[in-house]
Symmetry: D2
Subunit: 186 residues, 4 copies
C-alpha cells in the first residue's frame, strides 16, 4: 500500500474563512484540536438558584440518539460570545432569550478525544477543546434544526443515574460539574 498519493485540488485565493467543505473540515480535524463551546441551559429562581437543567434529544457524533447539552464549533474570526449566541440560537431557537454570562471564564473545560480513555470526554470525529458555560434561559426553548426534542429536568434529576445513562461523550459529567459549580450537586 502506497504511503503517499498525489492529488490535485483547486485552492481559493480569496478564501471565506468561515466556510469549510466537509472534506477540508475532516482533514483539519485530524491535524489540530478544534475550539468548541458547550452551554448548559438552566432555569434559575429569583435568588439565582438552579432549579432546572435543559437537555436536547439529538443524534450524536457517536451514532446514538442521546440527551445532550448545547455544543458547537467556534468559527474562524468569531468571538466566544458570538459562538455561544449562534449555537444557542441554532439549538434552542430564537425565543429562548439566553443570558450569555458576563465573564469569559468557563466553569470547566471539556477535552473531547477520539480515544475515550484519555480524558473521559469522547468525540469519535476529533480532538475538541470545549469551553463550557452555564447559560440561564429566560424565554421558551423551541429546538429547531437537528434536535428532536428539548426538556427541562430538575437539578435533582440531573445529578441522578437515569440522566447519565441517556447521555454520551461525557456530557453527563459536564452537567454534574455545572451542578457542583452552582452549589446544587447533592
Amino acid at each position: 500500500m502506497p504511503h503517499w498519493v498525489a492529488v490535485t485540488e483547486w485552492i481559493d485565493l480569496e478564501p471565506d474563512h468561515n466556510w469549510l467543505s466537509e472534506d477540508d473540515l475532516d482533514t483539519i480535524r485530524g491535524r489540530v484540536p478544534m475550539v468548541y463551546v458547550d452551554a448548559v441551559p438552566v432555569r434559575l429562581d429569583e435568588l439565582g438558584r438552579v432549579t432546572h437543567i435543559g437537555l436536547l434529544l439529538r443524534a450524536m457524533a457517536d451514532g446514538t440518539i442521546s440527551r445532550a447539552i448545547v455544543s458547537g464549533r467556534v468559527l474562524w474570526g468569531e468571538t466566544l460570545r458570538q459562538a455561544l449566541a449562534r449555537n444557542l440560537d441554532k439549538d434552542l431557537g430564537p425565543t429562548a432569550f439566553p443570558r450569555i454570562p458576563s465573564s469569559p471564564t468557563p466553569f470547566t473545560i471539556a477535552e473531547y478525544m477520539p480515544d475515550p480513555e484519555m480524558t473521559g470526554y469522547h468525540d469519535p470525529r476529533q480532538h475538541a477543546v470545549s469551553l463550557a458555560f452555564i447559560v440561564p434561559i429566560e424565554g421558551e426553548a423551541a429546538p429547531s434544526q437537528e434536535a428532536l426534542d428539548f426538556v427541562w429536568i430538575t437539578s435533582e434529576e440531573a445529578a441522578g443515574p437515569g440522566v447519565s445513562a441517556e447521555m454520551t461523550g461525557g456530557q453527563d459529567r459536564i452537567v454534574r460539574i455545572a451542578l457542583a459549580f452552582t452549589g446544587r450537586l447533592p
Copy 2:
C-alpha cells in the same frame, strides 16, 4: 486606670438572632470578622459584555460622601443569596430586577480592615470579609434609603482615575477586578 470593670446587663433568653442593638453590634465588630456581600451592578449587552457599571453616591463609614458599590452585612441565619437580594433591594429599590448569579463563588474577596495598610481594603468600624459578586441589573435602579444618587458609567470610565478618586475603602479596586474578571479591563 482599671483594666476590668463590672457591668450588669439584661440578657434575652429567647434572642431574635436577626436583631442586634448598635452597642452589641459595635462590641461584636471588635471581636470577630463580619460576613459581608458586595455587589457590582452591571449592564450587559446582548452578548453578555459589560457596557456599564452602576455606582451609588452615599455617606461612607469613613465619613466621606463617595461613589460606592452595593455592600451590606449577612445576617444570622440568612443565606448569601438572601443577603445579596436584600441588600440590592435596599440600595437599588424594588424595580432594579437584579440577576443574582447562578454560582455562589464570588469573583473576588475583599478583606476590609480598620488598618488601611493591611490589605488595601479599609473600614474604620470593623474587620469585614466581603464576598464580591457581579450582578446584572435588568430594570431601573431607584436608590431608596441612604443613597443620595445612582449613576451608570461606561466600563471605560470605570477603569479610569476619575472614578478611583471618588471611591473610598478600596472599592475602586473591586470595580477594576470586576472589569478584569469580565474581560473589560483595558
Copy 3:
C-alpha cells in the same frame, strides 16, 4: 419562665481582639455568622492532576468521630491567607508544607447552619460562612492536636459512597465539589 434575666459580668476595657472566652464566643455565635476557611488537602502529580485527597479523623461539632477536611475560624484582624496557614499548621503539623493558592477566590462557599435542611451544610453550634480552598500538600502531614488520624485516599475513592458515609455536616459534598472543580469527578 422569665424572658429576661439580669447578669453581671466583667468587661475588659483593653480587649485582645484575638482572644474570646468560650462564653463570649458562644454568645457571638448566636448573633452573627462566623467567618471560616475550609481546606481540602490534595496530592498532585507532575501535571497538576489530583491523585489523592487528605482526610482527618476527628471529633466533630455534632458529637461524631468522622472523616473531615481542614476547617477553622478566621480570627479578628487575620487575613484569609494567615487563617489558612494557621489552621493547616494546626491540623496537619509543621512538616506538611501546604501550598496556599495564589488566588483569594475560593472554589466554593459552604454555608454551615444549625438547621441541617437549609443549605445542606450543618453545624449545630453556629451559622458559619466558610470559604473553601484546594491546598496541595508537598510534605508529610502529621496530625497534631485534636485529630486522631490522617489518611490519603485516591480521588476515585473520595467520590464514592464509602467516604460520604464517614463524613458529616456536608463536608463530603465539599470534597465532591473539589473533585468537580479539578476535573476529577467521575
Copy 4:
C-alpha cells in the same frame, strides 16, 4: 487576477497527527481558530501571595522584540496539562519546576485575532483561543530556545505602564488580569 488556481500536492495517507508542515499550519491557521495555552509565571511567598511575575524577552509574531509570557499551541491529541508542561519546559528550561494548577479552569481566555481592534488581543498570523493559567515556578528559569532573556519583576512593576510599553499583542492585559485574579492589582 484569477480567483482559483489548481495545485497539486502529496497527501500522507498515514498522517502523524502531531506533525504539520509550516505550509499546512499556515493554511489551517486561516480556516479554524487554533487552541493555545498561555502561562503567567509567578513567584509566591509562603502565604501564596504573588511577589514576582516572570517575563521572557523574545521575538514576537508581530516582528517586535518584546517582553512576553509563556504561550504555545496545543497539539492534536495533547491534553491542556501536557501542553502547559511542554511549553513551560520549552520556554523556561528543565530546572524551572513549574506547578501546573490543580484546576483545568483558566483564569481568563485571550482571543488573539489578526484584527487588533476586535478583542484587544492581536496575532497577525492567526485566530487563537488561548486558555491562560497562573503557574508558580519553584525552580530557576533558564530560557532555552527562542527566548533571549527571562526576568522576574515585582507585582507592583508588572501593573505599571513601563511593562505595558514593552509587551505586545495584549499580553500586558493578561498580566493585569492575572494580578486582579490574585488580588494584587493596585
